[in-house]
């Protein structure tokens, strides 16, 4: 079963096309990576998938509902059915970590104040931050912000989560720790994870499927299991990318 279906999608800024005529599906209960070189449009694609920008043409369906052609209320409902972890965490600076999570619950659930606080602590303890519930985002480190952002993204127990470069800027140990955390969360919740990243270590450690985007052809040049792609690369670019070796043929 596929959670996200993309048909004939073309995206870009102004008249500048970044990716063209994409067709792919993201399967349920898997960790899917969108990878590719710098500037190939990974972030751009992610922001279109979550409905922040309207595409130039084409269709994106999440849980069988269009996020492109839909009225504003349906779109808002659909957005509440998934969580997003932004690159910097995107925590609201004027609120503590617990209040950040509380806000989501207040707006999108019927829980009362006590239940909301409980849920906030529960989600923070998933990412090992329960002691920091009453800290402000400016008082914690970048890696902690990412984890707090993850806790907030999971506040409503979504069945689909998007991540923009979750490992970027983390030291190798935190990065590996985050990979384990993601893997475990995914196994426990049975949710679908879509991760934008070019961290090869993470990809080999936790990805079920990868899509490789390419800047020159503005399209997907490879897809499948990362270990298979490394063994049998369909073309030179994938070969170079997967082996971190720009001299390969």
């Amino acid at each position: 079963m596929s959670v996200i279906e993309v048909k004939n999608l073309t995206i870009g800024y102004g008249n500048n096309i970044i990716l063209q005529d994409l067709n792919f599906e993201i399967k349920q209960n898997e960790i899917t990576f969108l990878m590719g070189g710098s500037g190939c449009g990974k972030t751009t694609l992610l922001k279109h998938l979550i409905g922040l920008y309207p595409p130039m043409c084409g269709e994106i369906k999440i849980f069988n509902q269009s996020i492109v052609n839909n009225n504003i209320n349906a779109k808002r409902k659909l957005m509440q059915s998934f969580g997003v972890l932004y690159q910097s965490g995107a925590l609201f600076g004027s609120m503590t970590l617990a209040e950040n999570i509380n806000l989501v619950l207040e707006e999108c659930s019927t829980l009362n104040a006590i239940q909301r606080r409980e849920r906030a602590i529960e989600k923070l303890s998933l990412v090992d931050l329960e002691e920091f519930a009453d800290y402000y985002p400016s008082d914690i480190s970048g890696g902690m912000k990412k984890r707090a952002g993850l806790a907030r993204a999971m506040a409503l127990n979504p069945k689909l989560l998007f991540f923009d470069e979750p490992q970027a800027g983390l030291d190798p140990i935190s990065s590996a720790g985050l990979d384990n955390l993601l893997k475990n969360l995914q196994r426990e919740t049975g949710a679908t994870f879509v991760i934008v990243s070019h961290e090869l270590d993470s990809i080999f450690a936790i990805a079920d499927t990868v899509f490789m985007l390419d800047k020159d052809s503005k399209s997907i040049i490879a897809q499948g299991n990362p270990h298979d792609l490394k063994r049998n690369p369909p073309n030179k670019w994938v070969n170079q990318f997967m082996h971190r070796d720009p001299t390969r043929k």
């Binding site: 409905g51 922040l52 600076g93």
Partner: protein, 268 residues
């Protein structure tokens, strides 16, 4: 010929940019309007504690500077008026001149300009930074309408804070005039106050307060607008902040001119 063609092309590009910017500005203003409409229709969903926070930030914390500037304004006005009026032996008219110009014009205007510098710029910088940090994107994907958080509480706070600051500004401006009247011209305090109360009709006070509410709305809309339109990096936020002050002062002066004209036609 080449230069000529290039000039034409530049004008075309400039025109397209202008059209796009106007279109974007109008659509943001429309969103603000919609948020306001929803807030009026559904006042329970307004975030009142946030209003209080901004009220403290834009009102209470601005009080010292407002009081000081308006007091000095009154002193300066009183001093200049005293120099002129003394020649004709009409010293007591200092009270008229200071009182009327402060209450009708300078009080609201000075407070508005101070608020543009303090509040308008901080609105633009805060909202711009939130954009850079993807906080606004996060609100949208959480299904939250950003303007309900960003615009409405600031608007409510400013519509309360600016008129109150103006009242304080007026009082201290008149006090400044009084000091000159008392110590420079030797007018008894009671006489000065009575004269002021005589000329300052409620209509004049209202005129100043109405102006201050309009200024509050302008400052908030421009500050938030510039924040929402800010670029995606530190440079963009800086430019948005500067622009919020420049645009804010520009529109305050324009609207002041219009309102002063309207009030004088209206016979106030």
């Amino acid at each position: 010929m080449r230069n000529f063609k290039k000039a034409i092309a530049d004008i075309g590009v400039w025109g397209c940019d202008l059209k796009q910017n106007t279109y974007k500005t109008i659509s943001v203003l429309g969103e603000f309007g919609l948020a306001l409409f929803n807030a009026v229709r559904n006042p329970k969903r307004i975030r009142y504690h946030q209003c209080l926070y901004y009220f403290q930030q834009t009102g209470y914390e601005s009080l010292p500077i407002v009081v000081m500037i308006c007091l000095l304004m009154g002193v300066i006005l009183g001093f200049q008026a005293a120099l002129q009026l003394k020649q004709f032996g009409t010293d007591i008219y200092v009270a008229d001149l200071v009182g009327l110009s402060i209450v009708k014009e300078l009080g609201p205007l000075m407070v508005a300009i101070i608020s543009t510098g303090r509040a308008g710029s901080s609105f633009a910088a805060e909202i711009g930074t939130m954009r850079v940090n993807e906080e606004i994107d996060a609100m949208v994907t959480m299904g939250i309408e950003p303007n309900r958080f960003l615009f409405i509480p600031r608007l409510i706070a400013m519509m309360g804070a600016v008129p109150i600051l103006t009242i304080f500004g007026n009082l201290f401006g008149i006090l400044g005039g009084l000091l000159i009247g008392r110590f420079q011209l030797g007018i008894p305090t009671v006489t000065y106050i009575n004269r002021s109360l005589e000329v300052l009709t409620p209509a004049y006070l209202m005129e100043g307060l109405i102006k201050s509410v309009i200024f509050a709305i302008l400052i908030t809309v421009i500050g938030c607008l510039r924040g929402v339109q800010s670029g995606n990096d530190a440079h963009g936020v800086g430019r948005a902040t500067t622009s919020s002050v420049v645009t804010g002062i520009f529109w305050i002066v324009i609207s002041d001119a219009i309102m002063t004209t309207l009030f004088s036609i209206g016979g106030a």
